[in-house]
Assembly symmetry: C2
Homo-oligomer: 368 residues x 2
């Protein structure tokens, strides 16, 4: 293998592959970066059997070939180079990364023991990358990062009638639901790991068209220039219970600028007390955001809002409310407040990307 490529492009791609691969593996080859050069350019890929990623970049290929090298030092070296062009060439048992003044020689790992990059499952539909990210970022934020139950770390994805794709995630304390338009080519019905999916959806250019692939075992996102795939979560998802939560019985409806409410919640955090809770009181034409802490003191801030319904008071985990409001940043959000400990439903008008988002946050038991 012998090729010349733009350093910055190669550096970004190597960093993306390295980031998507695990760093702690029993076999170093699974943390290796597979480089494959041919007439079409260079492919940077990696797989630890569970996840797989494959990115292609332009390169002037002097000699075809394929090698696997440690991902992290290659990514670090490419990132720190100041030369605009870099040459990658196999020299004996090393892949040499060469500039006019430097040579970095990475040991070749055993390509024959690498599991290879699994082929993509069948294509089931396409979505603009921008819309997919707009839906996946907030939905995946409602999934747990480290729950013992895989169900709460996943995003439920399934195709709905009328050319819609639906995404749901919950960690018991909040739930996010997005519906967005897609061009289906088959039925999608999976539970996929939220973190990997959100990260993968940020890979392609925002203008790109993303294809969703899935079979019984894996899900993949692909676009011109790359793909990421991962094993599905083998867990049942309580679809019926989750959908029932979306049927809200409204006690009071509040219309407010999401960023204004988020600012008030952020300022109440130093006063959120040992449980990190803030209280929202619905009043005439305004919301009052309150905090109280034995050490820090008390806070109260009023923000303008359009109110329809009863005067009610709800207490929330401040960070859950902040996560929910971040999903509606830049927009007016509607808070539908239900009675008692039933969750508060946040929604807003669909954006011009057609993404409809609903976020549920379960209130805390009120301390008298």
């Amino acid at each position: 293998m012998d090729l010349t490529a733009t350093t910055a492009e190669l550096a970004t791609a190597a960093a993306d592959v390295a980031r998507l691969l695990p760093t702690r593996v029993y076999d170093p080859v699974l943390a290796g970066l597979v480089l494959r050069a041919d007439g079409a350019g260079i492919e940077l890929a990696g797989s630890d059997r569970e996840h797989a990623v494959r990115l292609t970049r332009a390169a002037t290929v002097h000699a075809d070939g394929a090698v696997v090298v440690p991902a992290r030092p290659l990514a670090d070296t490419l990132r720190s180079l100041e030369d605009p062009q870099v040459r990658l060439v196999v020299e004996g048992s090393r892949l040499a990364v060469r500039t006019s003044t430097a040579r970095f020689a990475l040991p070749l790992l055993d390509l024959s023991t690498h599991p290879g990059i699994p082929p993509l499952p069948p294509a089931l539909g396409t979505i603009p990358a921008r819309a997919l990210t707009a839906a996946l970022t907030p939905v995946s934020s409602a999934a747990s990062k480290d729950d013992a139950l895989p169900m709460f770390t996943g995003v439920r994805m399934h195709s709905a009638p009328g050319g819609r794709l639906e995404l749901i995630a919950t960690d018991r304390y909040r739930m996010a639901f997005a519906s967005l338009p897609w061009v289906p080519a088959g039925e999608l019905d999976v539970l996929a790991p939220a973190v990997v999916l959100a990260e993968a959806s940020r890979q392609p250019d925002r203008a790109a068209e993303v294809t969703v692939h899935a079979d019984a075992d894996r899900i993949a996102l692909s676009w011109a220039g790359g793909s990421v795939s991962t094993a599905l979560l083998a867990a049942p998802f309580p679809d019926d219970r989750v959908r029932k939560l979306l049927e809200a019985v409204i006690d009071s409806t509040v219309l407010v600028e999401a960023d204004v409410l988020a600012g008030a919640v952020r300022r109440a955090v130093p006063y959120a007390g040992p449980h990190g809770s803030v209280t929202i009181q619905v009043d005439d034409g305004e919301l009052r955001v309150r905090g109280s802490d034995p050490q820090s003191g008390e806070s109260e801030e009023s923000i303008k809002a359009t109110i329809d319904g009863n005067r009610v008071t709800k207490t929330f985990q401040a960070r859950y409310l902040a996560d929910a409001l971040r999903a509606f940043s830049g927009r007016r959000v509607e808070l539908k407040i239900q009675d008692g400990l039933r969750s508060t439903v946040l929604t807003s008008q669909a954006g011009d990307d057609g993404v409809e988002l609903t976020y549920l946050v379960v209130p805390l038991r009120q301390t008298p």
Copy 2:
């Protein structure tokens, strides 16, 4: 107490006081921020007996007074406010931080139990803040952050003949020495905690004139608008041994752009091996920077240099060499390489601030 002030100014001052105060103290009042308002403006101060800080800011004072409140929530609240002006007013047992739409009420701590801000020791001389920071930042980087021996966490400061101030710090493995012009008003001869001193020297405006104060127990820096003081380290400093290290017997002298060598060292770090070491080989008209690691592979980079003397090869801890080179950023640095395991001496022309800097790095035993 009742006053109105510019939010941003107050927020910066409160954050600076909160940062310079310890967060874990047995008595909450020692982590408190003392606010004192009078005709001259507002003073924000704090002291845990060991450290003390006092900053003054402009304010429209409606009623004089003094209170102590928890520092962290006050700093966090001021930082997150969007209103350009803020009012601080005592209301019963609370200090209210008020804007047009919000009220944050901090509990008043017991001012009578606060140790107070110790008076400044006698003034011993003045220096421009820019020169003091230029000398203290690199010198304090050579002190240890957490050594069991206080000597290695301190900066030795003493006045030298000819209107010079000398600063020395070492953690055994490297040593930094700075000499800079000052206007003495007495004899200075102390060992002061490096971290506090470096932090304090960054507080005043770079154009400000800083006065150094000291007595047998404390050192303080003061400037128009503030002061920071701290207890001295009660440890002997091996002045004679340290000064002997500065008398180098040169084997080879290398003149090189500090940032170019720093870049090559940074690129060698992924190959620096389990001990984090890089090797510098002095050759004809160039330096070769090398790394070698069983997992990552090998690196070699050549950089142009003016060489005078023997061809030698030295191995260094990469991060110590990087710290040393950072001190000479933007300048040409002279490396005076000595024989065997004697330290390598880095120097450069004094800048227009008159700061002369010498940095010693002890090489590692070479692996064959």
